[in-house]
């Protein structure tokens, strides 16, 4: 069997993790979910993820700092930021670079599956 891509989902609302995990696993990805940013940060140093999906507003470490940390450890990891509809514009402005894409909450399962597929295609790109 081919090697599955690894995805990390970080959102402090458990429902987001609970729903994203099966939706992405169904597409053949391996998914780890976290509701605590500190734990997720710890995990980043243990495992190299191909894709990280993170919420923006979180207690302790916010999405922006998390992105920096991820990129520091694994520059090739693609990061997708999910954020409330209201904070979308500010989010886009503050992340000048380094983010693969933004998604506003609430979003459709199909939307995130599509963004993840694009990120996966980008990662695989040079090989095929």
């Amino acid at each position: 069997m081919k090697n599955k891509m690894k995805i990390m989902v970080l959102d402090d609302e458990p429902i987001v993790c609970k729903r994203l995990k099966p939706a992405l696993e169904k597409l053949g990805y391996e998914v780890d979910t976290f509701t605590q940013s500190v734990e997720a940060l710890h995990q980043i140093h243990q495992t190299a993820y191909d894709i990280v999906i993170t919420d923006l507003k979180m207690k302790e470490i916010d999405g922006m700092r998390f992105l920096e940390e991820v990129k520091k450890v694994h520059p090739e990891t693609e990061v997708i930021v999910i954020t409330g509809f209201a904070t979308m514009e500010t989010a886009k402005q503050s992340f000048k670079k380094g983010v693969f894409d933004f998604i506003a909450k609430p979003f459709k399962l199909g939307e995130i599956q599509e963004v993840v597929s694009r990120a996966a295609a980008k990662i695989k790109g040079p090989v095929s």
Partner: protein
Amino acid sequence: MLEKFRSLWNRIIRPKRPLVAFPEIFEHFQELLQDHQRVMELVADLGEKSGGEYIFDRKYLVDTTEQIQTLLLHMVQGLNLICANRYLELYSTIDRIFIPLESELRGRLSLSRDMPLVVPLESAPLDHPELTGGKANNLATVVQNLHLPVPPGFVITSRAYRLFLEHNQLEERIHAWLLDWASGEKDERQTSRQIQYSILAGVLPQEVASEIKRQSEKIGANLAIRSSAYGEDGELTFAGLHESLLNVPPRGLVRAYKQVLASLYSPEALIYRKEMGMLGEEAAMAVLAQVTVASRASGLVHSLDVSGREPDCLVIYASWGLGRTVVEGRTPVDRYVVERDYPHRLRHREIAVKETLVKPQSGGGEEVAAVPPGERSLPVLSEDAIQQLVRWALALERYFKRPQEIEWAQTDQGECLVLQCRGLAIPKSAARPQQDLCETCTQYPVLIRDVGVVAHAGVGSGPVAQVSSDVELDRFPEGAVLVTRYTAPWLARIVPRAAAIIAERGSAAGHLATIAREFRVPTLVGVEGAADLLPEGEKITVDTKQRVVYAGRVRELLQYELMQSTAFEDAPEFRLLRRLLARIAPLHLIDPTAADFTPQGCKSVHDVIRFIHEKAVEELMDLPRFVKRFKGVQIFTLVSDVPLGLKILDLGGGIDPEAQGNSLLPEQIRSLPLKALWKGVSGPGVWSTEPVPVDFKGLMSSLSKTWAESTGAAAVSGFNLAVITQTYMNLHLRLGYHFNLVDARIEPDPPRNHIYFRFVGGVTDLTRRSRRAQLLAKILSQYHFKVDTKGDLVVAKVLHLPQEDMEHRLQALGRLIGFTRQLDIQLRSDEDVPEFVDAFFQQGVPTPETKAQA
């Protein structure tokens, strides 16, 4: 919240003026319409989110609820400005609706005083497992949503348990004893003994005791008393840890209740909770009391073979007498293996030699007895009973989205009942598919991909059954995939039987979508051409999560979905959303002349906006005020062969800007809804060919007087007025003694569209008027209106169809208004109704069906 209210209150309280001037009214009315639309959109959004297609979080729920509240406050303010502060009471209505919504959002409602102490299964609030416990919440759902037969019973809620602890000052003592145990000072036996003793010695609060007495008297039979703890029968299984007492006579109920409560603290239960890391959490127990069925036979159904040997089969276990024999599994029982696929062939059966049975003991309790020798080797279940149990098991599995274990019983008369249902624990080895699901799915031909809108997310499979008229409803096979061109409200009846639904029209906020979500049926709407692509009888698999329709039964995908850990429908956030929706979306206020059509009568957000809209329009239509208020305002009179004397008030874009003077020709109407309706009203044969009774002309002439002339006595009958914009119409027509109201919006974006029609009154007795209401209801439902009738009142609405379909319906409505204007006189018996329905459709205008195919 309270501050918002105060500031608004202060702004509202100003010196009353006798009448508000037109420009102001105009502005507030426009704003009301916009707010109304916006609230309906937010409510529709919430409904849509409950279908599982979206990922949302609690913040979304909090924000949306807040937005709705702000808009409602604005609407109440607007209405009071229009109506000179006559509806200030609505502010407390909004508080009454939003205070519980806010406590829901803060998670504090379940144990609040609003919640019942004791409640029958048929009226227990759903989606409150922390109140009624997992077992009772499931059963209440089976009774209320799936309508399967369940022995009557009631729930003594966890709120009653809390009250019992408080009343006996047990809470802190139990906590202290548990701490002693956790720190190793005492062992679990001592701890258990202490706690159980003090619970059994406790006194039930008077209100709990009298409620239990009242409910048990209503049932009037011996009861089975069982625990229904939160989490039980869910992800955590306490099976067998808590006590069940069977065949308890009424006088023993209080004692039995306390015994079941005490079993929450048995040594085994304590150890289990410690191991699960739940000791710190407060244990709250609801208790279920249900009639003990003196069953001839009973047993279990597993909707999936847990051994994994026959994954395409259900397994039924059966034995004589009460259910303990099968559940405890100590003696051999019958085993029937039945195919999950229709026609559910019995693959094989093992008939055991059943030597003993359990039966109720006179005076309470149970006893073991010998099975008469001649019956020991007989099969317990007939083919009919097997088929019934299989259908129920699959329906329960479709609803709960997980393999089910069902306890059933059969009465002496052969009637089967569901006693319990819960998720079936599947061994981990059976749960995980070995192959890659994506690759497997690519082996099945795709019939439809990426088309349509998800109304409810999920996967379902079955043969295609196309339904295009209500006569086909009874032939709809259980577990088929419903394919339909329209989302007509009469389809609601078969929704619970469908494995999935595909509709060519409709929106995710429409009526069919709402019903589909209620019954958790995977549903795609707006799939154009589906009826042609999916031939009758073909087996298909519908995955609405991915918006794919496969040919054949994609077993691997169905299996995968069944084996997920929790169905999204049962996640706490979705329960919360449904609880919010139950206080927001339903419309209870249908009849504006009913006694409860008041601010106090408003039970939901929808009721409030309905009330506001009605009252704002009423104010606008109030003739004496209207005459004063609209002095100097441009009101047009429609000049036409149809003698209605219709007055038109244009709020923007509704008429030809070139229009001069006070009169208007039909071709100068620009308002889409009025144009369409008028096309129907003025169609050939609609107004002139019917025989007109002698007094009719007189009536019409009084009506066609201009509004300026009609003062004094004539004012009582009101006048005919359309308030329009380019896309909106609110039309009041009083014809003779009956009254039509049409409120409609037609825009290019279907989700904004609606037609609301109300018809009431007549000159004849109520029976004949009711006949006319029946007639209207029959005709309107053929046009896919959702129709409610009450006596001679007809309320019909249709939502979210594309512009062309809406226009077609308004045109039909116009014809109908003409057709029915004096019809009550002619409807002499109930048999006349179908005849007149035919007459309407034979007038040479396309019927809904011919139109649909055109």
